[in-house]
Assembly symmetry: C2
Homo-oligomer: 335 residues x 2
DNA sequence: CCTGGTATTGTAAGCGTTTACATTATTATT
DNA sequence: AATAATAATGTAAACGCTTACAATACCAGG
């Protein structure tokens, strides 16, 4: 069923049918009705590819995200989609996984689809390698690229992020000020924000003259797991450290810390204080509830889309919008 | 940059370039190399819409999902994407939200994109209204439709699901057999599986001669919320019931139940047993850990994609594949 | 060096839309 | 009723690719 079939059945030209489809006002109401009826009757839907050929823009924004089942990324994607939709844009989501080789393919894939802009969620693209950065540079020649929670200075690349370095610095500082100097730092994914968080943590410890903080940092390698596996990991790799605090780059890791404390019969927060990151629903699921950093995801996604819309409208927009995270205190800390 | 530009720069015809792009074997290796080099050099990506016009299939499967930030749906989408990708299919994800009116638009949208098949995740489409079902019927005339966790008997519609009715029946039965007759049933989204779970719950109570079970059922209306809000909801609407058990249609609701118990100084599981559904990561985040129903999501998604691939290959495939859920016992129950 | 067969490459016709421009119908003005 | 102005509709080219079919290049055997 094509536009020709419809035009024939409605007794008009394809141009008129096209005008009806696209809501042009240059159609007589009676004609519009006639055509609409035929379209309705035969359940005709215009072919998106043919439209894509004709139209300059399809009002579509590509979203690239490593893993849509990650609590935090999923939330980000959800907010972005809602916000885009509210502004008349479709979104096209690709989940690349954490495999670097695949990312390039996905980037090509999504760029081949006449998108008006591209949003990179989760900052896994901004690695330390020049190779990863190259993808962004390539992409930015075609469409504006928006980075959520990552910073990368390049033409046509716009960044919206939480200042994770400072936020983590403040977070660690408040724990140290609370009297805890032996802090286990847990992290998993290596990403832009992950690196910043770590840097902030280290800076805080250094500012208090705490030496060899690296001894207290543990990289948890599994991407999908549960709190018990994380607790076991802590027991295996860090038990001998006798830390009195845990700061984690992610709420789930922190919950693993609480779990660990329970297994060791340590009281949280008396014997062990625990702080997570992202302020997800997990924070209120555990006992005690988890102190966590709210990195303003909703604010970030809102700002990001606003910036993108501005760019698309040809306005001059800030290349970098930085927000501060905020520590939300709950039962897992006493300070 | 089009195929013409490349053909010109490489000194060959567009057909040859097209053959290189599509990996045809009818190209001399030296020519292939020459063309590939030019493509590489200029960073050319074929226009997806033009390809879509020419090609019969783009090896793309559409996925429709209400809310990608829902823990359970996100996981389902993730598994599906992984599985599809492993089998050489792209996936196109649309998150419709829970608004019925929008769904039709999304369906049209995704159907207009020359997809080879459509997967409906989360069963929100199979409502009680004929209107909702109509969408599936319409769609099934174009491409095979795969339902995850929903059943709908119609040509070209294939269903892969957990037998939630029986699973919930068994779950409730085991709680009643454990000596608990006053059970608060919590549910939120109205969906196919939601209706089935409820039916199973009711059947179990009836089979034990428990009267007026409806008095003990509560619908929690917010879609996004945290455990504390749910706990407050229980206190507001059900405190006077003096139930000794909670069965929830979703893990988060169940965690809300545990939270409620803590606030009331009730011991879980001694004073109150709690069972969730979906066996998500939340089950091991709370204290005590949550007994929950594993509805075999990974098995379901695997089977679903296998069935879809079979259908696309022209094989005769089962219209309905039903699996049994399994109660995973943890600390929130004593039986 | 020619012949026939095969491997490679080129030509051109779609694919289903949009839209500039041409044409025709309608309405207003005199 | 004729004309001008305007509104509605139609025609045909363009979008960038795939692919059937045509044309050409290459190679082995005589």
């Amino acid at each position: 069923m094509t536009i020709y079939d419809i035009s024939q059945k409605a007794g008009v030209s394809i141009a008129t049918v096209s005008r009806v489809i696209n809501g042009s006002d240059k159609v007589r109401p009676s004609t519009r009705q006639k055509v609409s009826d035929v379209i309705e009757k035969y359940g005709y839907t215009p072919n998106a590819f043919a439209r894509g050929m004709g139209l300059q823009s399809l009002h579509t924004i590509g979203i690239l995200c490593a893993d849509s089942s990650d609590l935090f990324l999923a939330k980000a994607v959800f907010y972005l989609e809602q916000e885009l939709q509210a502004n008349g844009y479709e979104s096209l989501l690709c989940c690349t996984g954490y495999n670097l080789d695949l990312k390039k393919n996905y980037l090509d894939l999504i760029l081949s689809k006449k998108i008006d802009g591209l949003i990179l969620v989760g900052s896994h693209f901004i690695g330390t390698t020049e190779e990863e950065n190259q993808y962004i540079k390539d992409g930015s020649h075609r469409v504006p690229i928006m980075l959520l929670n990552a910073a990368f200075d390049y033409p046509n690349v716009y960044c919206t992020l939480c200042d994770d370095e400072t936020t983590m610095f403040e977070t660690a500082k408040s724990m140290i000020s609370g009297g805890i100097r032996d802090i286990l730092y847990l992290y998993n994914i290596r990403s832009y924000s992950g690196i910043k968080k770590m840097a902030g943590f280290l800076r805080a410890l250094q500012s208090f003259g705490i030496e060899n903080p690296q001894n207290y940092m543990r990289f948890y390698p599994n991407d999908s797991s549960d709190a018990n596996q994380i607790a076991a990991f802590i027991e295996d790799t860090a038990k001998e450290l006798h830390f009195q605090g845990i700061i984690a780059a992610d709420d789930l890791l922190a919950v693993g810390g609480i779990k660990y404390a329970q297994k060791q019969n340590l009281d949280v927060p008396k014997d062990l204080s625990v702080i997570g990151y992202n302020n997800s629903i997990l924070t209120t699921c555990c006992t005690p509830e988890l102190t966590s950093v709210d990195n303003r995801l909703e604010t970030l996604t809102h700002r990001l889309v606003q910036t993108l819309l501005g760019v698309l409208a040809g306005e001059e927009m800030p290349k970098m919008s930085v927000f501060s995270g905020k520590l939300i205190k709950r039962g897992s800390t006493y300070f």
